[in-house]
Amino acid sequence: MLLLQLNNITKRYPGVVALNDVSLDVVKGEVHALVGENGAGKSTLIKTCTGAVIPTEGTITVRGREFSSLTPKLSEQQGIAVIYQEFNLVDELSVAENIFLGRALRKGIMIDKKAMAKEAAKIFEQFDIDIDPNELVGNLTVGYQQLVEIAKAVSQDAQILIMDEPSAPLTQAEAESLYVMVEKLKAKGVTIVYISHRMEEIFRLSDRITVLRDGQKIKTLNTSDTNLDDLVKLMVGRELKETYPARTHQIADEVLLEVDNLSGNGVHDISLQIRKGEVLGLAGLIGAGRTELAELLFGVRQRSAGRVVLHGKEVRPRFPREAIDSGIALVPEDRKKQGALLEVDIKGNISMAILERISRFCTVNKKEEKRVAEYYKESIRIKTPNLEQKIKNLSGGNQQKAIIAKWLATEPSLVIFDEPTRGIDVGAKSEIYALVNTLVESGKAVLMISSEMEEVMGMSDRIMVLRQGRVSGELERKDFNQETIMGYASQS
């Protein structure tokens, strides 16, 4: 039975066609995956189902009822619920109160906390989830918060659950409990539309897959009839070379960065070395102290003990500028919050960290600025009609490239990448990997923090695993193995 049908949906914005004649059939009880590169139109498409976007043309049919457009209210009445990446939870309220937010159970005029806790516990029991309904949501990890968000939708009797990259912020272990929940929901007959960049989970969870590219539907396939290579080909519309391009250069013997017994900012007693031309991968669970270590090296936070030697010289940055001047660059984790100046043009973003260097008498040398920006636009292929575009108009992958350009412009000898490909599509990912290779081939050293197991294993020469702020293991490339790394990351 067809539960949800999108019929020839077109959405035009001034100057852009976000969706072009897209049709989609969702069968009751299936897990329907929606895949495509960033900007393919996935988010716009689901927003038409939730009433956040009004289609220019086309209709939406839910259980045989046809609508020319939905409103958020109407969508909810039809049993459609969306789990966004950013949760709609109130940190200061309990789990149960969040689940019943806006429709609290009452005894007379009083809120009946006990009844809500009981109802919430019932829902969790159905899914074998171990969450205390009385716990404050703010005290839960991201993974659990997401389960609460899903439980909220379930308690509202959602028949169609749309999940937009639900696993993106989760660790491997947290993602596992998400998958279990999805499987249970499916067993209960809930229909799920699942958007994700992670291919493993798509193959594990979905019954059918619809591929979008450039606002058009390319194909809907049965998951059992396809494989990863074919799917990626459909998504990018071209053959991708190996995802992790091989490096051929010899790593030098010269140690570029030496860290001895570094402590502070939640990390303890960390020692490591990176040689010229080497990529050291930093693996671990969220909260293991990887970003915190990067912050110490970059002078965002101060160490309490230990020594850092770069190029044979001891460095002790008190703030980022000093780290930058000594040759360290940090491409931060959260592109929008920590990396991009969204309202500033691409050129201005690229030159941001070198403005003082290219100024005379406080006046920016605009010619030099333009030259540097052009150089990086060409050399790392930032796709944009011109450098005067605001950076927010670029796709995620190109934004990330512009931010990397900002750091390369400082001519660093050590580049720290914190989750360099988070939320970036397949095509841009492999370009960033190629870029990392170019960096190490030219003798720079790279410290790469990544929560994606495949990525950290594919890109690193060595991997160091952190757990609870300490080094819990180190592996040479020949010993890379997912189970071993997970073991180091999670053993207690």
Binding site: P14, P320, R321, Q338, M352, S359, K406
Partner: protein
């Protein structure tokens, strides 16, 4: 097909013209209206008078625009103008200082107050609106303490040049405004620290991680805000020829209105001095026109408040559309 394309292009162009020159279109409309409604409005003396009246607002608006760019606000500038008025007057009249020396002292004082605002805001991480509100009250109190609430007058003749002199037909306050605005534009467009204002206002964390010393930027911006307010205060004193405790009252509000009318976003990160000038002129023309039409004082107050409300509403609407 071709036709719709070109009409779209025209539409887009109109939109971008509206965004760039919107405030000047409003200005033109106001001027047309007042020139029809009042025969005196277009008189060249009246127009020069408007220019002279707005010059103090225009001078202070440059510093205020910097603060807004940072995502902050500086409510203390009105009181600061009062303090500059009173202290300069007191130094010249009661202490017998040379006018030049008194002016220099007043400018240093206002820059110092601004720096102090910036220091508290960035080191104690307090909301700018509270810090500068408290400072506004404190400074006003100090001004009263100096003069006991009484006006101070009887300045040396040479002092009046600043506010009342002319170069050719152009009043000196207007020239000072043009210079300050030019300086403001130069800072924002050409200097690296001007770029930092946008960066810090747009995304403080990203700015910090890009090696920008955010604290230092804040010190600089609040210092400049105080400094420019100080210049406005000196011009005002010279124009009125007497130091008054109510001289700067409500000035921060006028300047805020002018900046927002001129398209400086209250949420920081975007705005241009060239449009702030438009905002300043619109306010000046509006209040001059209303006086010429003999509109009641209290009605004028209602109108000025409404203008601020509408300007901020437009700014917020624009931001929501972007999101």
């Amino acid at each position: 097909m071709k036709k719709t394309d070109s009409s779209k292009a025209v539409g887009a162009m109109a939109a971008s013209i509206g965004k760039t020159f919107g405030i000047y279109i409003v200005l033109l409309a106001l001027m047309v209206f007042f020139s029809i409604a009042s025969e005196n409005f277009l008189d060249s003396n009246n127009l020069l008078n408007v220019a002279r009246q707005v010059s103090m607002m225009g001078i202070a608006a440059v510093g205020f625009a910097f603060v807004l760019l940072l995502g902050g606000i500086d409510l203390s500038i009105g009181s600061l103008i009062t303090l500059v008025n009173i202290s300069t007057a007191w130094l010249m009249v009661n202490a017998g200082w040379n006018p030049l020396l008194a002016v220099l002292f007043a400018l240093l004082l206002s820059a110092a107050v601004g720096f102090f605002n910036g220091w508290i805001i960035s080191n104690l991480q307090m909301p700018p609106i509270i810090v500068t509100l408290a400072m506004m009250i404190i400074i006003e109190g100090v001004a009263y303490l100096i003069c006991g609430g009484l006006p101070i007058y009887g300045f040396p003749q040479s002092f009046s040049v600043i506010g009342q002199g002319y170069v050719g037909p152009v009043p000196i306050p207007v020239i000072i405004m043009v210079i300050v605005m030019g300086l403001g534009m130069f800072i924002l467009r050409k200097t690296y620290f001007g770029r930092y204002f946008y960066a810090v206002g747009g995304n403080e964390e990203a700015a910090e991680l890009s090696g920008i010393n955010v604290k230092r930027v804040k010190y600089l911006v609040y210092t400049l805000s105080g400094f420019f307010a100080g210049i406005a205060g000196v011009v005002m004193l010279s124009r009125t020829n007497s130091g008054q405790v109510i001289s700067g009252k409500g000035f921060e509000f006028l300047v805020l209105t002018a900046c927002v009318l001129g398209g400086v976003s209250v949420s920081g990160g975007s705005g241009k001095i060239s449009n702030v000038l438009g905002g300043v002129l619109v306010l000046g023309v509006l209040s001059n026109g209303l006086v010429l039409l003999d509109v009641d004082d209290y009605v004028q107050k209602v109108i000025r408040g409404s203008v601020l409300l509408i300007a901020v509403a437009l700014d917020c609407l624009q931001h929501r559309k972007k999101a």
